[in-house]
């Protein structure tokens, strides 16, 4: 804004003067926009310079934000490379590591409990994602294309279910899980995680499926394809970006959920990573921060790797989730 007002010289740029004239005529509604004459007088070069400044300003501000946002992950990394002695010495900057060591990582990799947590997490995530995707792709195909009595209400219901947070129903679910004998069994998560993942996955799959032209499946129907064939050979390949987005969402839910495992699991052989790290590495008042941070890093690795490669699909799916339907 400030650069705009510098040195109003003679209006030498022909392309800008009519704009100034128009602005002058409509000045009643735009009184705060500066006088039309100064606007018309701005040199092309100064406009360019102004854009350049705006660009560098944006980069600088983004840089500040990136530093702020990446501070905790950076601190995690630094701490994970420190030995327990270095952490308890409490000298020098805690932000830097003086004698980097991979001992913490090595300890965790060879620590049987941590291996169990990791395996449990991987297993639960794979099962949850598969189950969720099967349920939601079938349902989305049916809701987007076939329809039945009440299918519109069901679509709306699915979206509303997505808005129910896990912390609303975890207490009755505690009783239900207990009554079917799955309390303190990692398998109860396979039953419960899909309730968190399926609604949103179904919702974005409905969006993607609806955007497929009807001519495609009509042509296939005329050629004698069954509904299953249409789904498998047309809808799933065409809506692959949506399927990837939904899969990542289901993965995120299953990998990072904290409340359900914390409430329903209590022995270490049944725990998953999120609760295992907290309950195992924190014993009373003894915090093995180096190991905790290394564990956090190892546990965050799969999501970070997946997002690094598939971020675009996920962002597209997520933003479509709020717009399509």
């Amino acid at each position: 804004m400030s650069a705009q007002l510098e040195k109003p010289r003679a209006p030498t740029v022909p392309g800008l003067s009519p704009a100034g004239a128009v602005a002058g005529r409509s000045a009643g509604g735009t009184a705060a926009a500066g006088t039309p004459s100064s606007r018309a007088a701005v040199y092309h070069t100064s406009l360019h310079r102004q854009r350049q400044w705006a660009l560098w300003g944006s980069y600088a501000a983004l840089g500040v934000f990136v530093i702020m946002f990446l501070m905790p992950p950076f601190y995690t990394l630094m701490t994970s490379l420190k030995s327990s002695a270095e952490i308890s010495a409490q000298t020098g900057s805690p932000w830097l590591v003086k004698h980097p060591t991979l001992d913490n990582f090595w300890y965790l990799i060879t620590y049987p409990n941590f291996q169990t947590y990791y395996l449990n997490s991987v297993m639960i995530t794979i099962v949850t994602v598969s189950v969720s995707m099967i349920i939601s792709v079938l349902a989305a195909f049916s809701l987007a294309r076939m329809g039945f009595w009440g299918s519109n209400i069901l679509s709306t219901g699915v979206f509303l279910t997505y808005l129910i947070p896990p912390s609303l129903l975890f207490i009755p679910l505690f009783q239900i899980v207990g009554s079917i004998g799955l309390i303190n069994s990692v398998w109860c998560l396979v039953l419960l995680y899909p309730t968190l993942a399926v609604p949103f996955c179904t919702w974005i799959m409905i969006g993607y499926f609806s955007s497929i032209p009807r001519e495609l499946d009509e042509a296939a129907l005329i050629d004698g394809a069954s509904y299953m064939q249409i789904l498998l050979k047309i809808f799933i390949p065409v809506a692959m970006p949506g399927i990837i987005a939904a899969t990542i969402f289901a993965f995120t839910v299953a990998w990072g959920a904290f409340l359900y495992p914390l409430a329903y699991l209590y022995t270490s052989n049944q725990m998953v990573l999120t609760v295992g790290i907290i309950s195992d590495l924190i014993r009373g008042d003894v915090f093995q921060w180096g190991k905790i941070m290394a564990a956090c890093l190892l546990a965050s690795l799969p999501p970070i790797v997946i997002y690094a490669f598939l971020m675009d699909y996920y962002v597209a799916g997520l933003t479509a989730g709020a717009t399509k339907g």
Partner: protein, 316 residues
């Protein structure tokens, strides 16, 4: 098969259908909707079994006494409302959700604009960096924050000491601890707002800005009269959605403070966990959780309306 001349011998199911008289069209339609219903059945079973049934079960549970032997009506709700701790919970939940959502929305808006300013080919890497907080599982990144807030030898206190300030007991004093939980939530949630707003910004046609420029609009006017009206719907959906998630947040408060000091940072979810699971008073915990329902339903109603509206706008 698709050339239209050959008879699809291999597809047995369609052969009788093709030869069927007109009267069976109804039957086919019915068959189609039966298949459709069958495809939805797993979803319906899942939602009924693990969402709708627990919801009604929660209502039932919340009206029992602690040993779950007698029916006490609305006694648990009345008991909670009279309790000072629970009044703190209501206050803190609202403070936490409103402050965090407003901060996230503003920060996300600013960052999305900055991101929109820079050329498209650089956006990807910056966006990737800024999304990191949102990618790490919240329970794990909150552990890092906990360690950074450590009172004795912590990241933040060290920086303060370098500038000659005294140590701050981050999580030990009520209002500071409240601020800390909000900061962590803002750190985690801002990237989500950023990508939603960035997508919305990109969908505003460039021609509108050009027209505004020709009419003499400045940057501020473009923001107020072009960008904001065009983004209004997305802003509303994102804010309401985030309000739901933030209001029901559990991970941050549970790990960072577990409700302390003096129950000042408890939110509904953590208090329900402490009362219902840790202290074993399931009915009271269920009642506590259900207090969240009105505000969630309120937000959900408007989210749904916004999404439906937007779908219509796009279709039009």
């Amino acid at each position: 098969m698709a050339d239209g001349t050959s008879v699809p011998v291999g597809v047995i199911t369609t052969a009788p259908r093709a030869a069927a008289p007109r009267g069976t069209m109804k039957r086919i339609a019915r068959q189609k909707s039966t298949i459709a219903f069958m495809l939805c059945l797993p979803l319906i079973v899942l939602i009924c079994g693990f969402v709708i049934y627990p919801a009604f079960y929660a209502l039932f549970l919340s009206m029992l006494n602690k040993k779950m032997t007698a029916f006490v009506g609305l006694g648990n709700f009345a008991f909670l409302l009279k309790r000072h701790t629970f009044q703190l919970v209501i206050f803190q939940s609202c403070l936490f959700a409103v402050t965090a959502v407003v901060a996230k929305a503003l920060l996300g808006f600013v960052i999305a604009h900055l991101m929109h300013n820079i050329p498209g080919k650089h956006q990807k890497i910056w966006r990737g960096l800024l999304l990191v907080p949102w990618v790490i599982p919240l329970a794990l990144s909150t552990l890092t924050w906990w360690w950074m807030f450590d009172p004795s030898y912590s990241a933040f206190n060290w920086i303060l000491n370098q500038f000659g300030f005294a140590n701050v007991p981050w999580l030990g004093v009520g209002w500071i601890a409240r601020a800390c939980t909000i900061v962590v939530n803002v750190w985690f949630g801002t990237p989500f707002f950023m990508i939603m707003y960035l997508a919305a910004l990109k969908s505003v046609p460039e021609a509108l800005y050009e027209a505004a420029s020709i009419d003499g609009a400045g940057a501020r006017q473009k923001l107020l009269f072009v960008t904001l009206p065009m983004m209004r719907n997305i802003i509303a959906i994102t804010v309401l959605f985030s309000l739901i998630v933030t209001f029901a947040d559990f991970d941050i408060v549970r790990i960072l403070t577990a409700g302390g000091p003096q129950d000042m940072t408890h939110v509904f979810a953590t208090y329900a966990f402490q009362v219902g699971i840790q202290s074993g008073d399931i009915p009271l915990g269920a009642a506590d959780s259900l207090f969240m329902f009105p505000i969630l339903a309120f937000a959900a109603f408007f989210v749904l309306r916004g999404v439906t509206q937007r779908t219509k706008d796009i279709a039009a």
